[in-house]
Subunit: 471 residues, 2 copies
């Protein structure tokens, strides 16, 4: 028997897996230099004044091995037109798709890297930017000036956050951005000190590295942006992710384990496992499935959550008490296949995916009898109107606490009846309403077994386990 | 076809049924004179200073035909011992039972009348009484001085209240006392004017006949006692009974009908009817039955309501949502049988009855999975304790809104399991706890059919209809 590794051995083992190799770094460097040279060359030909720079984790050696993202910004003077830079990017990328943040940018695969070519304005000061991306070069500059010697700590922290599922500031995750992870390391001094401090966090935790905060924030964690005193770097971080990180940090320091960095892969549930979970829980499982609209994740995801909430409150309002719910969404495209399918020349990102919203109900069925509490007995007109609306009574009218009460036949005694009848009346978000109207599927309990899709089975596995690192 | 009777014809028909006959009045008078003579004679023999007087509805011709109650008060000087008067009463009554309000009194059957012989103090002023009964002679005097010519209106009002189920100030009813009915007629001037005015009542309605109110009250209806400015005559009246009366008054004035005064008798449900009701409603019906304690109604009834509330909140707390509930209680004694059963000479009133509490649940069964929301994630010690209490998890732990949540196996998945396990831990009221510990029965749904008792079947009929006169 070998004894478990010490904490520092464990961290070394993690670093061995997440630190890009010498070769990987050289390749990234070569690609970056190559792309920049091409842009600069083209710019010179066109007599354009612009400044090309590598930003993000690639620029400061804090990228995780295997994350082949390369962000190259094309800076333009404030009075110029960003479309000129966009056109440079198009020409250099050759094969690409155009994506949109505040302004269009180019996303391309290039020698094994995912390349973002982003036009931005070269402003004097991050507090006076014209577009959100203009801030990024300042972030890069700030971190580069402070991070020397702490790169491994950043890698450990990013991988830890990734492992426990709180890494990424996109809406789907609502977690820690890479920049935030870097600032935490700069703030506390090392990976382990970040964990130690996070374990004692409270809601409203406030960190101001430059001591220049210029606004108060209501967010669970406030990390004042060192380059823009009005901005909270952690604005996208949800309360639950903040404390999932804090709780996991405490757990890890007590019981260090490789699992925190590299959790076991989620296995799709087999028919037997799915059925056993449904039966053991004894609750009512309901799945709503429809085609996902052709939109990027940051647009779809909030709508999916909105739809989940709308349906949840419909169910709750009608007495079908929801225990828990979740939403999921899968694109069925594989990288590189876009051009084959989009032979008509449309080069925007297309997702032909499936959206799923899952509800677990404490109460899936209600009795026929339905009690309705009406107006106070002393409001004669209201009472008359109430009673004229409810003429077929199982019981009543009678008074309770001064109010007129009637008992009538319930319109929908099962949650699926209710959903089928009212899903079109809900506000599910602009694009989803449209998708649902085109067609949807509702199935409950054992009928879930008919959905064999492995993404769905993994989603169910995660749902039923719902286990986070808390101790 | 005969046309329906006019309102005044209808009221005359009611009076024909509720006005005591000439003969009935003579008999009452004779019994009263007879009893008073005997008391006075005995008092003289014993050289006692006392004043015997008829009080209540019998004294002022406002008793309903068939109500053979006769209240005779034996007034004693303030400095004397009421037991002396009680002893007079015992001797005169011969066969009697002793009952207790604030002080003991004698209840006897006497020539077809139910006779209460009540010792009281002769005080100068109803505002300075020594015991609640001392006020009664003042009430009698006040009403007698004002009611002449309005006796029929009182009879109509009492019968109307009786017909709609709001007559009687005992705790079981929480309705209008006879005295309150008389004061309402004195206040508004006639039966119909009482109805007209009541139809416009609001909560907190305030009536002060003598304009001498000396205290504010929080009750739904305040009728300042003309003989005691601090007292609210309507203190026992519940909000629901007040407005049941108001609503029925409006209905009656719109659609006068004999039914308001003499509702059809409640027929016990047959097996088929009971089963059909249970099935049509689709809810979970639960009956708890146990022997009623040997106590008078005004002691049992509040305990029964308390037990109903305790059990209701146990069910609701555990997710078994209660739609409605009711309690009932029947004495199985017939008048006059006491002396046969109590051959040991114990002459206090004995009830060998049955108590029933009925619950109709929206949710009679819950899933195995049970969600428990724990402390906020940033309370480290609380989280540890919470998690150490819940180690066998179906799902979790996970965070939701900053709180640690776990999903465990539910201990009781049906309401009857829960009740059977926890009924002894509830606070059901002193005497009921004892009775339940001696033995109780729980049955649900179809098993209710096994209870053939006609009182129970009437109770169920009333429960399922729950129809009050509201329009």
């Amino acid at each position: 028997m070998t004894s478990p590794p010490s904490l520092s051995e464990l961290l070394d083992q993690v670093l061995d897996r997440v630190r890009p190799t010498y070769q990987e770094r050289k390749r990234l460097k070569r690609v970056a230099v190559d792309v920049i040279a091409r842009i600069d060359e083209l710019a010179q030909t066109r007599k354009l004044e612009c400044k090309t720079l590598v930003v993000g984790s690639a620029a400061r050696n804090t990228w995780l091995a295997g994350d082949h993202d390369l962000d190259i910004f094309i800076g333009m003077p404030e009075d110029s037109d960003l479309d000129i830079a966009l056109d440079l990017a198009r020409k250099v990328a050759l094969q690409y798709e155009e994506r949109y943040a505040e302004h269009a940018y180019v996303h391309a695969f290039f020698e094994g890297f995912e390349l973002d070519l982003v036009p931005c304005y070269l402003v004097k000061d991050a507090a006076h930017i014209k577009s959100a991306v203009d801030r990024t070069p300042f972030h890069s500059q700030y971190v580069s000036s402070k991070i020397r010697g702490l790169e491994d700590d950043v890698l450990l922290l990013k991988q830890f956050m990734k492992g426990i599922g709180v890494y990424g500031s996109e809406l789907r995750v609502g977690g820690f951005s890479g920049y935030l992870a870097e600032l935490l390391v700069i703030c506390y001094g090392s990976f382990l000190e970040v964990l130690q401090n996070a374990g004692n966090w409270n809601p409203g935790e406030f960190i101001d590295l430059e001591g220049h905060s210029a606004r108060s924030h209501d967010d669970p964690l406030v990390m004042v942006d060192p380059v823009d005193p009005k901005r909270n770097v952690a604005a996208a971080l949800s309360l639950d992710n903040m404390f999932q990180f804090a709780a996991a940090a405490r757990c890890f320091l007590r019981h260090p384990d490789m699992n925190f960095f590299f959790p076991p892969e989620i296995k799709p549930l087999s028919d037997e496992e799915l059925l056993r979970s449904i039966q053991n829980r004894g609750s009512t499982s309901i799945l709503i499935e429809f085609a996902a609209p052709d939109l990027v994740e940051d647009v779809i995801f909030p709508q999916l959550r909105k739809a989940e909430q709308s349906i949840r409150s419909l169910l709750d309002r009608n007495g079908f008490s929801v225990l828990r719910s979740d939403a999921d969404w899968h694109q069925n495209i594989s990288p590189g296949s876009d051009d084959e399918t989009d032979s008509d020349g449309d080069k925007t990102s297309v997702s032909r995916g499936v959206a799923r919203i899952f509800f677990e109900l404490e109460i899936g069925q209600l009795p026929e009898v339905h009690r309705l509490v009406g107006p106070p007995a002393w409001k004669e007109g209201h009472v008359e109107r109430f009673l004229s609306c409810h003429q077929e009574l199982l019981s009543g009218p009678y008074l309770e606490n001064g109010h007129v009460v009637v008992e009538v036949k319930r319109k929908y005694t099962t949650a699926t009846q209710l959903l089928s009848a009212q899903i079109f009346d809900l506000s599910l978000g602009e694009h989803l309403n449209h998708q649902v109207q085109k067609g949807y599927k509702i199935c409950a309990n054992r009928d879930l077994l008919k959905t064999k899709d492995q993404d769905f089975r993994k989603f169910m596995s995660k749902y039923f386990s719902a286990q986070q690192k808390i101790c």
